[in-house]
């Protein structure tokens, strides 16, 4: 079984400046989604990692964990969905404003065995199969970052949304399957309904817990390796407060420092 990759402590707490933050999605009864771009002088990020973000002029106490959408030449991008007060602020941050960032934090998607690789080859898996990247809603962000550094022949991207899709522009359309719950684009329904794990050498997924649970089950049945990126409330983001516990078969793990990416088979889902 492939191990999730733990990275060195090359990280920093530094202010950055917002250079753009356009809202790309808005729907009644849901929060807005924006693409937050920040110029930042810290070290490079890897797909799957996240930052703790907080505007200097903020009405909340803690930073909020947000996955890296892209990181190139000193520009960090994030896909931010408004949920509560903290994420709303991030969506409303304006160009020119100062934002403080701690990161990059957490582990990355496991090293991806190519067609000659061995680490993903379990019983019955064909080494020439592509990877499946499965994102639900805002959960597409850490997978989009991964897709950008992969050979497009080597993955298929599945993206599920409640309604209208967003953020998928960077993906070649032949690689992409979209599903929406209201049928407003792509397939009507949920991603797990349109997706057979057996066709992939491994599945990487991020999104709402029920989706991850279903995918983990489907992958287990098909004996396909599955890695999921989990969300927990976080205070420190660095493993110091023990607030973001993920229960696993090996005992408690810290979502921020031991994750956020875990082998699905090890995770004990709550109730």
């Amino acid at each position: 079984m492939a191990e999730t990759a733990h990275c060195s402590h090359d990280r920093a707490f530094l202010p950055g400046t917002i250079i753009a933050n356009p809202v790309i999605y808005e729907a009644k009864g849901e929060g807005a989604v924006s693409v937050l771009k920040v110029s930042w002088d810290g070290p490079e990020s890897k797909p799957g990692q996240f930052f703790m973000l907080r505007l200097v002029r903020s009405g909340v106490l803690l930073g909020r964990p947000i996955s890296v959408l892209d990181h190139q030449k000193g520009i960090l991008s994030f896909l931010v969905a408004e949920r509560g007060a903290g994420s709303r602020e991030l969506v409303q941050g304006r160009p020119g404003e100062t934002i403080e960032l701690a990161g990059p934090l957490g582990n990355t998607w496991p090293s991806m065995p190519d067609s000659t690789g061995a680490s993903a080859s379990g019983p019955g898996s064909a080494v020439t199969k592509p990877l499946a990247l499965v994102g639900g809603g805002i959960g597409i962000a850490p997978l989009l970052f991964l897709s950008k550094i992969m050979d497009s022949a080597d993955f298929r991207f599945f993206a599920g949304f409640r309604s209208r899709p967003y953020g998928l522009e960077s993906l070649p359309s032949q690689n992409l399957t979209v599903a929406t719950e209201d049928g407003s684009a792509g397939h009507r329904g949920r991603i797990p309904d349109f997706f057979n794990p057996a066709e992939y050498r491994a599945v990487y997924a991020c999104g709402p817990a029920p989706m991850l649970r279903r995918i983990a089950e489907d992958c287990a049945k098909a004996a396909v390796p599955c890695f999921i990126s989990l969300e927990e409330r976080m205070a420190c983001g660095v493993g110091a407060c023990l607030g973001c516990t993920v229960r696993t078969k090996q005992g408690n793990r810290r979502c921020c420092a031991d994750g956020p990416i875990f082998p699905a088979e090890e995770v004990l889902f709550d109730d």
């Binding site: 707490f13 106490l61 408690n252 420092a257």
Partner: protein, 321 residues
């Protein structure tokens, strides 16, 4: 004791120059190179923040609360943000003192700051055995936690009344010659009484406040946010109350008092020194701004320089109001 402490100790005897104010403080015989200490439970075992800040610059680091036996901590939600505050219900998750000594302590002793072991337990005997094990190590001080609101047995129970506090402090004092600081609960009905009882039982110093017993409901799910119903409140929200308690305890006892509760910037720390604290701890403020403690150290230095203060203890207003 690490070399860093030794050199800090030497510094206190050197005369103060106008260039670099002397921030060193002496607490229970231990000299800290500066009075800024990472609060227990918010700084792991000292290495978690490496890369984000220069950890070696801190005056001291309190470990996560340690118990003789390993603990899994609490189930369910563990964190909840409130206006300028943080509620937590970690429940003293820790690997147990033997595992701490073997796996975490060696690296921690090499970091530079004084190492303060935060010790908890369910019974007097468990506290005592923990103190015995820690006493045989290179830690610089024991912080006796009789104030954790998030565990069912022990913890805060000992900190709520003078008699219980006295018994556990006396027991630990008996088996350990390490400097002994006792961490008080703001939830104690008679805080000054508990403080005095701890001193009478042999505490070399006191620290306060631990978190306030607080409550939050999840209105969507119509149940308490936390499985244990109540949880501990920390952060800037509590600062004005914590400061008042530190003021009261400094007036009540003669030993050094380490103040904490919501300190986020140097100005907050200065208020605690004005209340009579000998040193301060910073917890929650590190989460949103890992550099908070470093900036506090620099801010204290700047303030001492501009105001021509030789020792932070000069700031104390105890006895004047």
């Amino acid at each position: 004791m690490t070399e860093a402490h030794q050199s800090a100790r030497d510094q206190t005897t050197s005369t103060q120059t106008s260039q670099a104010p002397d921030l060193s403080v002496r607490i229970a015989g231990l000299v800290l190179k500066n009075p800024v200490i990472a609060a227990s439970g918010t700084f792991g075992y000292g290495r978690e923040y490496e890369g984000l800040i220069d950890v070696s610059r801190l005056g001291g680091i309190c470990t996560k609360g340690l118990t003789l036996y390993p603990r899994e901590g609490n189930r369910g939600r563990r964190l909840h943000e409130t206006p300028s505050g943080l509620m937590n219900s970690i429940g003293l998750e820790n690997p147990g003192i033997p595992a701490f000594i073997e796996k975490e302590l060696p690296a921690m002793l090499g970091l530079g700051p004084a190492v303060i072991a935060n010790l908890s337990g369910s019974t007097v005997e468990e506290y005592q055995e923990g103190a015995r094990l820690l006493g045989a190590t290179g830690i610089d001080m024991i912080e006796l936690n009789i104030s954790c609101p998030n565990v069912k047995a022990g913890g805060m129970a000992f900190g709520l009344c003078p008699a219980d506090a006295s018994s556990v402090v006396r027991a630990v004092r008996k088996v350990s010659s390490k400097p002994l600081m006792v961490k008080l609960s703001p939830n104690a009905p008679d805080l000054a009484g508990v403080a005095q009882a701890c001193v009478d039982a042999g505490a070399d110093a006191l620290s306060l406040v631990n978190t306030f017993k607080a409550l939050a409901f999840d209105i969507r799910r119509r149940r308490p946010v936390f499985d244990h119903v109540t949880a501990g409140l920390s952060g800037p929200a509590i600062k004005p109350i914590a400061l008042r308690m530190v003021w009261d305890v400094c007036a009540a006892v003669q030993v050094p008092v380490v103040g904490m509760g919501g300190i986020a910037i140097a100005e907050d720390a200065l208020e605690f020194f004005m209340a009579g604290a000998a040193a301060i701890q910073v917890g929650t403020a590190t989460f949103p701004r890992p550099s908070a403690m470093i900036e506090i150290i620099e801010g204290l230095e700047r303030f001492m320089k501009t105001e021509g203060i030789g020792q932070l203890s000069e700031l104390s207003l105890q006895g004047k109001y």
